[in-house]
């Protein structure tokens, strides 16, 4: 790939487009909802003028928007990291069952340890996410071909189904857990309060930092283990750090927003199509596109689900599944 420029040819136009979408998404997210606000009301709310009701709605929506953007960014970057580490275009944390793993640990925590605060959920969810990722990766790597895309997806789907059954099994005898769990799970972005946002931020910042720093090394990793080692990269340590970061980002997001799937898959493939595989651009732009995708899905969910709202996870699945299918159709048989 010859590139005389410092950045891919289409970078500036794509960046501009996404920034525009970003702004539009943010505006839409504040304006639309169970009760749509006019732009004037929004401005008034920001300035704390106008009615007290409008102000509070605006403030809540702004927090929800920021929350959604952070979740989207985290999931987008987690997706890129997982795909780099496994050299597998289908490695979206939700496909790998990490979401259900986090959910399972949280449910067990609720049932057996009686946890009930967001900060407690987050540690259980993170442990669950890590444990599941290791487990799925372990099973998917057995046998010839290492962690080939198909094997990983199958291991993820099987583990996901198993965990799902276990979650239901733990919940059914305990109605209080069922209520608690639904509240945590259905919350999604709607339950994004300032506290949960503040919980997520440190993980997001650390994750972004690690991702950006390791980007050049991950570029080398994409060429193959032997090539990377030849270029001086410590593949084992790099893999560990990147995978850990990816799982943490996904686990933290699941902990505060419930399981949202396919964002990583959508965000990374969109950017990869537009800008190519260079991770120095792929990582930040996947974060940006993940944020945009999530916030747009959230707005769509709010509009489609009136007067209630449709969980953002439902829309991302509906959008993401065709992408998965198209990827599967295009892939050569051998590379599956």
């Amino acid at each position: 790939m010859e590139r005389n420029r410092f950045y891919p040819k289409s970078f500036i136009p794509v960046l501009v487009i996404f920034l525009v979408l970003f702004v539009l998404g943010v505006v839409a997210s504040v304006v639309f909802g169970a009760r749509s606000l006019s732009l004037q009301e929004v401005v008034d709310g920001l300035r704390n003028q106008g009615g007290a009701y409008e102000s509070s709605v605006v403030h809540k929506r702004i927090i929800r928007t920021v929350f959604g953007l952070c979740c989207g960014a985290a999931l987008g970057i987690a997706g890129v990291l997982m795909q780099s580490v496994t050299r597998n275009p289908l490695a979206d944390p939700s496909i790998l069952g990490v979401n259900n793993g986090a959910a399972f640990f949280v449910v067990c925590g609720m049932a057996f340890f009686h946890i009930n605060t967001a900060s407690q959920y987050i540690w259980f969810a993170l442990s669950g996410a890590l444990f599941t990722a290791v487990f799925v990766f372990g099973i998917g790597s057995l046998g010839r071909g290492g962690a080939a895309p198909l094997k990983l997806v199958l291991a993820g789907a099987a583990t996901s189904a198993a965990l799902s059954s276990l979650v239901t099994a733990v919940m059914i005898p305990r109605t209080y857990v069922m209520d608690q769990f639904r509240f945590w799970q259905v919350g999604s972005i709607g339950a994004g309060t300032r506290d949960s946002l503040l919980l997520l931020l440190p993980f997001l910042l650390v994750g972004v930092l690690v991702a950006v720093i390791t980007a050049p090394a991950l570029n080398a990793l994409a060429l193959g283990d032997e090539m990377a080692t030849g270029l001086g990269v410590k593949t084992g340590a790099l893999r560990l750090v990147a995978a850990f970061t990816g799982v943490i980002l996904c686990g933290a997001t699941t902990a505060v927003a419930g399981p949202i799937g396919f964002v990583g898959l959508l965000a990374t493939h969109l950017i990869r199509m537009l800008l190519g595989p260079d991770l120095r651009y792929l990582i930040p732009m996947s974060g940006l596109s993940g944020a945009v995708i999530l916030i747009v899905s959230d707005v769509a969910g709010r509009l489609a689900g009136r007067p209630g709202e449709l969980e953002v996870g439902v829309l991302t699945a509906f959008l993401g599944a065709p992408v998965l299918i198209i990827l599967a159709m295009k892939a050569k048989v051998r590379s599956l």
Binding site: A148, L154, A157, S165, A304, A321, I325, M329
Partner: protein, 342 residues
């Protein structure tokens, strides 16, 4: 030459004997479980009373419990379990992959989505819902097969596309559940986890009819299925009409799955477990449709009994089978990866 013939005869008779012995044992087990379903419950009725009710007499107290609740429950479990078992066996043998069953390749998701749509949006009758479920199931097979065909057919691609279709159908179902009105919810929920609760006698004849027609069809095609196991080319050279046979088998398996799902909801794992268990017991090389069906029936009945009586809380049968099936699925994946099946 005579000794060779003797040798061959010995082997064949041994295998045939095993098939007969195992199938008979499975039939006895299933019959025993059926009896248990009728006898056990909040009140345990003596055999005398149960037999009387079955023969049409009226025994105070027992008649309602047995005729209205337990008998339909048992028949549903028996026929749906058999249907799931044999359908799973057909898919797995034809696609030569133990992971390939109507659930994993997303067919059940399509049926469920269509059914929930009918219940929630169209508010249609039970009969129409079942028809829609079957039609959707067949349509989903066509879609998945069409998408997965590509230049060369690969089972891996089929599974991936199936997972994608499943995810889409699940999100459609979640959306529909959200906009559902209160009174449609219970019927819709039935389609999400398999359960034998609340099955009525009127619903059963369709399922029983489907089994009576399609199971013999699958048995008749049993030999051709064995040839298909050897691969498309070998089967063709042996004189199998591969396209026609495949279509008939797939349609039968999908229709059986869809109708069974219409009555009990998707009972997890049965279609997936029955085939391998049957093969493990009976051995390969024989047409194992009937043993697989019996294993399926036994699994469902046993799981339902466990769900009702083994725990302090009642679990629907789908949860129990889901929990049994999950570790086996993982074990299978481990084994297949080790052997390099992918």
């Amino acid at each position: 030459m005579k000794t060779t013939i003797e040798l061959i005869k010995q082997g064949r008779n041994r295998r045939r004997g095993r098939w007969i012995a195992v199938t008979t044992a499975l039939a006895v087990l299933t019959a025993a479980l059926c009896c248990a379903m009728l006898l056990l419950g909040n009140t345990i009725y003596p055999v005398r009373d149960v037999a009387a009710v079955l023969l049409g007499e009226d025994v105070k107290g027992a008649t309602f419990a047995i005729r209205t609740i337990r008998l339909p429950r048992m028949l549903a479990g028996l026929f749906a379990g058999f249907a799931f078992g044999i359908a799973g066996y057909v898919f797995q043998t034809m696609l030569r992959n133990p992971l390939a069953n109507p659930n994993v390749i997303g067919v059940t998701a399509g049926s469920s989505a269509a059914a929930v749509f009918c219940i929630v949006v169209l508010q249609s009758s039970k009969a129409l819902t079942s028809v829609a479920a079957v039609a959707a199931g067949l349509l989903t097979v066509l879609i998945i097969y069409g998408l997965a065909r590509g230049k060369t057919f690969s089972i891996g691609r089929l599974i991936l596309v199936g997972i994608g279709i499943q995810a889409m159908c699940n999100s459609i179902i979640t959306y529909l559940m959200m906009i559902a009105k209160e009174h449609s919810l219970p019927a819709a929920v039935r389609w999400l986890t398999g359960s034998l609760n609340g099955v009525k006698m009127e619903e059963l004849p369709v399922l029983m009819l489907a089994c009576l027609i399609l199971v013999p069809l699958i048995c008749v095609l049993g030999r051709s299925l064995l040839m298909l196991e050897l691969g498309e080319q070998t089967a063709t050279t042996l004189g199998v009409r591969t396209d026609r046979t495949r279509v008939l088998l797939i349609v039968s398996a999908v229709v059986l799955s869809a109708i069974a799902t219409a009555i009990t909801g998707p009972i997890a794992s049965v279609a997936f477990l029955a085939g391998p268990i049957a093969v493990r017991l009976v051995g390969t090389g024989t047409a194992n449709g009937i043993p697989a069906g019996l294993v399926g029936a036994a699994l469902v009945l046993a799981a339902d009994l466990a769900g009702q009586f083994a725990f302090p809380v009642k679990f629907p049968v789908g949860i129990i089978t889901g929990i049994i099936g999950a570790p086996y699925l993982l074990y299978l994946l481990v084994r297949m990866n080790r052997k390099g099946a992918f």
